[in-house]
């Protein structure tokens, strides 16, 4: 037997990638997994109890974000929620005999960008709307797309890489003026900024459990009553036929608890985390000449710090930080572990040309000493990077 020598990264500053499951959510899930298991479609007591827990969960999510329970659909994660919203709406449009057209912001998550591109692949249209470095959407381009027949507009509430908080209310207003449908990916927003479908009259809204201390593979799609969305998969009719398949009751319960607590704690936690983020930013700005702060706009979400360091190798920088016990990311997680240029940063700032990007995202467990250590470790690693000749 070999001994496991690798010590866990001691300071986790990658909460925008995923979060640990919080004890309240875990206990709620375990109660279902251990005891009240059952198929909500079954006619016996086990089934009835499971169905009751599922509907309770639906009500709790609805209450937390200002929706009706009938507008909440449990899905299996954020990517699925985005896909059902965009491709499902496009399919509903197509069935009515018109051509679907998805106009999405240029800084969307790949789940939205790829779904919009797929609308184009399937005989409809897809386009992106530019977002400026000051955190505003190009409203003229939006108007053009709407005048051109956009059937759905999608703009994320908070961007996952740089934390830009888009002006959703204004975008919804324009969209509705053209009778188009509005979707927002609020995966990174819940718990960090106010998210309420009563305040901002969005039509479709996507959430995921694992960014808010719930479980991976759990998600929600809010569909405002009267908005047509066709299913992407077919089966037994669960989730009012929009998302068939035996319901993940434990996941839904965990998700509901996580959503509820995220909303309850949003104001105080956002202030605390913003303080930590700003402290980290100040330390890095003091220590690193030429540091760029991406997404440093007044409407920035509190939990993300994205910095650019000139003339550094991002892969080596991240690896060096990891060995110093700091878990950060290069912007967004990637399948092969190798670095790729970020479409978000390119959309906002153009080509990066040798600038290494680091994203730090503090969370519930992060303390002040954690971010101070992270800043120190970054400077230590950077000192070594700077000693390295860049080969041309």
């Amino acid at each position: 037997m070999m001994v496991h020598r690798e010590h866990m990264s001691s300071i986790y500053l990658d909460h925008a990638a995923t979060t640990p499951v919080r004890p309240e959510a875990r206990e709620g899930m375990l109660a279902i997994l251990d005891g009240e298991f059952g198929n909500p479609s079954s006619a016996h007591g086990w089934g009835r109890r499971a169905a009751a827990r599922l509907e309770e969960a639906r009500e709790r999510v609805a209450r937390a974000i200002g929706a009706d329970p009938g507008e909440i659909y449990f899905v299996r994660g954020g990517t699925e929620s985005d896909n059902v919203a965009i491709l499902g709406h496009a399919e509903a449009v197509r069935r009515k005999g018109t051509t679907p057209f998805a106009a999405v912001s240029a800084i969307e998550h790949k789940a939205v960008l790829s779904a919009a591109a797929e609308v184009g692949e399937r005989g409809g249209r897809g386009c992106t709307i530019p977002v400026y470095a000051d955190g505003t959407l190009d409203m003229d381009a939006l108007d053009t797309a709407l005048a051109d027949g956009a059937s759905i507009v999608s703009a994320m509430t908070v961007n996952n890489e740089v934390g830009i908080h888009l002006p959703i209310e204004a975008i919804v207003e324009r969209t509705h003026a053209h009778d188009a449908v509005f979707h927002t990916d609020a995966v990174q927003a819940l718990g960090k900024v106010p998210v309420n479908v009563g305040d901002a009259p969005v039509d479709l809204l996507s959430l995921t459990g694992h960014k808010i201390y719930g479980a991976t593979g759990t998600g929600v799609l809010f569909v405002r009553r009267g908005v047509d969305v066709a299913p992407l998969i077919f089966g037994g009719g669960q989730e009012r036929e929009l998302r068939p398949g035996t319901e993940d009751v434990a996941g839904a319960v965990g998700m509901a608890i996580a959503v509820e607590l995220a909303v309850q704690e949003q104001e105080s936690e956002a202030d605390r985390i913003r303080g930590l983020r700003d402290l980290l930013q100040a330390r890095l700005e003091d220590g690193i000449e030429g540091l760029r702060v991406h997404g440093d706009v007044p409407n920035r979400a509190p939990h993300i710090l994205n910095v650019g360091i000139p003339d550094a190798d991002p892969e080596a920088l991240l690896a060096g930080l990891d060995l110093e016990g700091i878990a950060a990311s290069a912007g967004s997680a990637c399948d092969s572990g190798a670095h790729k240029a970020s479409h978000v940063l390119e959309a906002l700032y153009g080509p990066l040309n040798g600038v290494a990007v680091l994203r730090f995202s503090p969370g519930r467990s992060t303390s002040e000493s954690d971010v101070i250590r992270a800043a120190e470790a970054t400077l230590t690693v950077l000192e070594r990077v700077r000693g390295v000749e860049v080969r041309g």
């Binding site: 080596a316 690896a319 060096g320 990891d322 060995l323 092969s336 572990g337 190798a338 790729k340």
Partner: protein, 378 residues
């Protein structure tokens, strides 16, 4: 050694897996790294078809089992420039490149070194079958691996000398059989992976596809030309001189009465020159891009030289070390192939090496030596 941090190159094969495991056993603070060198579908959007990804996944699994961190470093740009572009241009010139030599000399170890510094590493390791002799602490020497059938010193003559003190080759004292046994004993998932024989970026073994993709259309190297004898008689046609290597017998067609070999490739006229074994023998060679891993030996020094990966080193004399090296073989050698490496040895020790620029027949050798000595400064 305990506490020293070593960055080990892990390809996902059995050799580098065992190298990493041995370093862990020896008490080093081991960090694994896989260099992502190329991607077949570079032009396509889907990175999942990258052939390197299986290797990366295996390296990760081994690292996890060993309890060491593992990172992937993308060196595709360096690799394409230093190795693939060179490979293509050498064939275009009618020469036969050693891409693995280029990779080790120009890409792999230098890129590892840079990353290692950022990661606070004290040394660099790989699963090559070679040894570092540290009996002279100030000037460590590169030696052949113990297992003669696996020895990879032929591929490492191009390492920068100043790197030698930092290098670790844990497999140099082992045989391949012992390495496999170790891998099985440790339960490594890579224990029974087959040997990789082909050039990594030409997995089918047919490099012509790659040349066709990367050379301009109708490049002379891939256009038909004549097969001629050393006296100029036309013996047949070929479909591109890039398909040939000096010393090759296969693919010439039969019916010449006696075995014929490629003895020269003339890129200018697209001619492939063939001749008998005797005609293909050379008394010496001119070596360029020379790298010495030790102080260059004085003129007329007897050394041994290896001119192909699978060949034995043969006695030769260094006739000149003025920038390029002129070698005189003790016995005439067949298949002295431009583009291939000539590696200089003294017994087990690698003195250095270079690229074969051209074969010298005995007559020209005398002239070369004369000219070279005339060019000697003072």
């Amino acid at each position: 050694m305990s506490g020293q941090r070593i960055l080990v190159a892990m390809s996902g094969g059995v050799d580098s897996s065992v190298a990493a495991a041995l370093l862990v056993q020896q008490g080093y603070d081991v960090v694994g790294a896989t260099m992502k060198t190329f991607c077949y579908s570079g032009e396509e959007a889907h990175s999942k078809t990258c052939c390197g990804l299986d290797g990366i996944a295996d390296a990760r699994r081994v690292s996890d089992a060993l309890g060491i961190p593992h990172y992937v470093f993308d060196v595709e740009e360096d690799f394409t420039r230093d190795v693939i572009d060179d490979f293509v241009s050498e064939y275009a010139r009618g020469r036969t490149p050693n891409p693995c030599v280029r990779c080790n000399s120009n890409t792999k170890f230098q890129d590892l070194m840079e990353r290692g510094r950022v990661l606070g590493c004290d040394g660099i390791a790989s699963g090559h079958y070679v040894r570092i002799d540290r009996s002279n602490v100030a000037t460590p020497a590169l030696h052949r691996g113990i297992d003669a059938s696996k020895d990879q010193s032929y591929f490492l003559w191009g390492l920068p000398t100043e790197m030698l003190p930092l290098l670790h080759f844990p497999l140099g004292d082992l045989t391949k059989i012992q390495v496999r046994e170790q891998a099985r004993a440790l339960g490594l998932v890579t224990a029974d992976k087959p040997e990789s024989q082909e050039i990594c970026f030409v997995p089918t073994g047919d490099y012509r596809d790659l040349l066709e993709k990367r050379l301009i259309k109708q490049h002379p190297a891939l256009e038909p030309g004549l097969i001629v004898s050393s006296t100029g008689a036309v013996l047949g046609e070929h479909t591109g001189y890039a398909n040939f290597t000096v010393g090759q017998r296969k693919g010439l067609g039969g019916g010449f009465g006696q075995p014929l070999y490629v003895i020269e490739i003339r890129a200018d006229s697209r001619e492939v020159v063939v001749g008998t074994a005797e005609e293909g023998a050379s008394g010496g060679a001119e070596i360029g891009e020379v790298n010495w891993l030790t102080t260059p030996p004085p003129e007329a020094s007897p050394i041994q030289v290896q001119i192909r990966y699978r060949a034995a080193a043969v006695p030769a004399t260094v006739q000149s070390t003025d920038g390029r090296v002129v070698l005189a073989f003790e016995e005439a050698q067949r298949a002295v192939t431009p583009g291939q490496s000539a590696v200089f040895f003294q017994g087990e020790r690698v003195l250095g090496g270079g690229r074969i620029e051209r074969a010298l027949v005995s007559r020209t050798l005398d002239e070369e030596v004369g000219r070279a000595s005339m060019l000697q400064p003072g």
